[in-house]
């Protein structure tokens, strides 16, 4: 049984690398901007939770 070898990936053009640079986050372990936004939003929620705790703890 033979299997067809996959076609070689196209050579990246200058346009492609520029687009990739624009689209990629460049952050280690985080590939999509949606993940970055979710992370930032989670930090915001954490701050609100911390401040709510501060309000109650020192009431």
């Amino acid at each position: 049984m033979t299997s067809a070898s996959p076609p070689p990936p196209p050579e990246p053009s200058a346009d492609d690398s520029a687009a990739a640079q624009e689209l990629g986050t460049g952050l280690p372990g985080i590939r999509s901007w949606r993940t970055v936004y979710a992370l930032v939003f989670s930090i915001f929620v954490l701050w609100v939770a911390l401040l709510s705790w501060l309000t109650v703890a020192y009431a």
């Binding site: 901007w33 936004y37 930032v40 939003f41 915001f44 609100v48 709510s52 501060l54 309000t55």
Partner: protein, 577 residues
């Protein structure tokens, strides 16, 4: 301030400016003058965005707010992270793709020339009105407490910031802002450390927080729906989000900062940096104020933090009354000091009942000191009805000058100037760019070359600088300074944000409908502000102006577009018949 303080102050300020100018020398074409080299990284953008917003008012007024009312003002910034996420995901890629110099250029491409002009004029009006505040605010406070001449302080600081902004353009502004915000953070952390070290022996951060909490200074979040409260979670989240969306997304002083990025990625990360650090930064500054309040539970505070105003009134007929109030204040403070020490000792010993009794006694003594402070303000007003009696802007600078070691005083005064320069430079840079790109090149001289535009941009920047210095020289402010700045912003931002939201999200609305929607929304907000004292229902938190202005602009834009569409349809039907 002694020679060492002046050496630190001048060394830091002039050093940063000289370095910024040297690094950005020889910028001649329009693109580099307005947008820098286009190679700015995310960290510089993040600090630059932060520095543009954090004016000297932030570092004088915000600790004063923490001292007087506690840290609840932090809720004002709850909307900022969400707004920055929206801007990074939606606004930024469009600005970058269209390669605009100003945010209002985008309105011209999406709508028409008159809407672009409206956006630019609203920005110039709003920034022009607030132009003097960022120079005046630190100058009045510094000149009052140091004895420097007010006009000389305004002229020196104003001229210096105008000179390097005109000379170096956007790149110099970004670069100097990076180091200025660095100085600001170093200064604030140093002040925080000294504050903790100056607390009485045996009293640590935990005790200080407990005392601040006992005086209700740590009420950070209020989930109530009471519209009379100026800062709640909801007004901060919704009103604050609209304010931040307008400010970061449509105000050229901010848009210009992140358009200097080398890619969408760098600009986005710069915005995310602010989304993450904006709340902790404001919290830290407010906490500094709350801890200064705790510090003055153990040290003797002045009865009125604007000492020269007190002395002026004392020398002009109110001396006897003011000294009697001061004596009562000192007696009440001595009692409060005893009770607070007993409270902390009982707390440390784990005696809850004794701690609660001492706390109640401390609160009662504190009420007496507050009454004495209120009586002082009444006496100052009686002596001179024009006297500005709000002394909260003087709290932090009084602490700096009275309790920090020499050298550090110079550094903290440098913090105030660094913040003035950083925010003013960003504003002037944006005012010059908008006047050049959206007025001069768009309307006056459409065929102007880049060289002419750079030359005109320098002139316009200098002109706006002169306007700002002029306003500052003749200004007189009655309210808390940071609130005055936010109120001016809120009056104008709602309508402009409505325009941009229509442009980004409502494809069917065209130029004429958007234009009239924004004009009518702006007129409504100005009417609400003007009538707020005579019509009680209109006297609500200014943060809601952003929401109302934006909502009315969008609703009217849709209605007017619907009416235009109906009229066209009926005309076409008539023509066909």
């Amino acid at each position: 301030m002694n020679a060492l303080d002046y050496l630190v102050l001048l060394g830091v300020m002039l050093g940063i400016i000289a370095y910024g100018l040297w690094r950005t020398r020889g910028r001649r074409d329009l693109h580099t003058y307005l947008k820098g080299e286009g190679n700015t990284n995310w960290f510089t953008i993040g600090l630059s965005v932060m520095a543009t917003q954090a004016s000297a008012i932030t570092f004088l007024s915000t600790p004063g707010q923490g001292y007087e009312s506690g840290i609840g003002f932090v809720q004002n910034y709850f909307g900022a992270p969400i707004a920055l996420l929206i801007i990074a995901a939606v606004f930024l890629p469009v600005y970058r793709r269209l390669k605009v110099y100003t945010a209002y250029e985008y309105l011209g491409r999406r709508f028409d020339a008159k809407t672009r002009l409206l956006g630019a004029v609203l920005f110039l009006t709003q920034r022009g009105l607030g132009a003097g505040i960022t120079i005046y605010a630190p100058a009045i406070v510094l000149s009052t407490v140091t004895g420097w001449r007010l006009d000389a302080t305004i002229l020196c600081s104003g001229s210096l910031v105008v000179a390097y902004t005109v000379s170096g353009g956007s790149a110099a502004v970004n670069l100097t802002q990076k180091y200025q915000i660095g100085v600001i953070f170093i200064g604030l952390f140093a002040a925080f450390a000294v504050l903790l070290m100056k607390l009485p022996a045996g009293i640590g951060l935990g005790d200080a927080l407990a005392v601040a909490g006992g005086y209700h200074k740590l009420q950070a979040v209020d989930f109530s729906f009471d519209p009379d409260k100026r800062y709640t979670f909801w007004s901060g989240l919704l009103g604050g989000m609209f304010l931040a969306l307008s400010y970061f997304g449509t105000d050229q002083s901010q848009v210009q900062r992140y358009l200097t990025g080398s890619s969408v990625r760098e600009s986005r990360l710069g915005l995310m940096f602010n989304a993450v650090f904006k709340i902790p930064m404001q919290l830290f500054i407010l906490m500094l104020g709350a801890l200064v309040f705790v510090f003055y539970q153990f040290e003797s505070p002045p009865v009125h933090f604007n000492g020269p105003a007190w002395q002026h009134a004392a020398q002009h007929g109110a001396g006897e009354q003011l000294r009697a109030i001061e004596a009562e204040f000192k007696t009440a403070h001595a009692d409060r000091q005893l009770q607070v020490r007993a409270w902390v000792a009982a707390r440390q010993a784990g005696d809850t009942a004794a701690a609660e009794t001492a706390r109640a006694a401390a609160l009662a003594a504190n009420a007496r000191t507050e009454k004495a402070r209120a009586d002082t303000k009444a006496a100052l007003t009686a002596a001179d009805p024009r006297a500005v009696t709000n002394d909260s802007d003087y709290v932090f600078i009084t602490f700096i000058l009275s309790h920090l070691p020499h050298g550090l005083i110079g550094l903290l005064v440098a913090v105030i100037f660094a913040a003035t320069f950083a925010s003013k430079a960003g504003e002037l840079n944006a005012l010059g760019s908008t006047t050049t790109v959206d007025i001069y090149r768009h309307i006056v001289r459409p065929d102007a070359t880049d060289t002419e535009c750079v030359k005109m941009s320098r002139w316009f920047t200098a002109l706006w600088g002169a306007v700002a210095i002029g306003f500052a020289l003749f200004a007189s402010l009655a309210e808390n300074l940071i609130q005055a700045t936010n109120i001016i912003g809120s009056i104008f931002y709602g309508g402009v944000l409505g325009l941009f939201l229509l442009a980004f999200f409502v494809r069917q609305v065209q130029g004429t409908a958007a234009f009239w929607g924004a004009v009518l929304a702006q007129a409504l907000i100005i009417a609400i502000y003007a009538l707020r004292k005579t019509v009680p229902i209109l006297d609500f938190s200014y943060l809601w102006y952003n929401v109302i202005g934006c909502g009315v602009c969008i609703a009217l834009g849709l209605l007017i577009q619907g009416a235009i569409h109906l009229r066209r349809s009926s005309r076409q039907a008539g023509a066909a018949a």
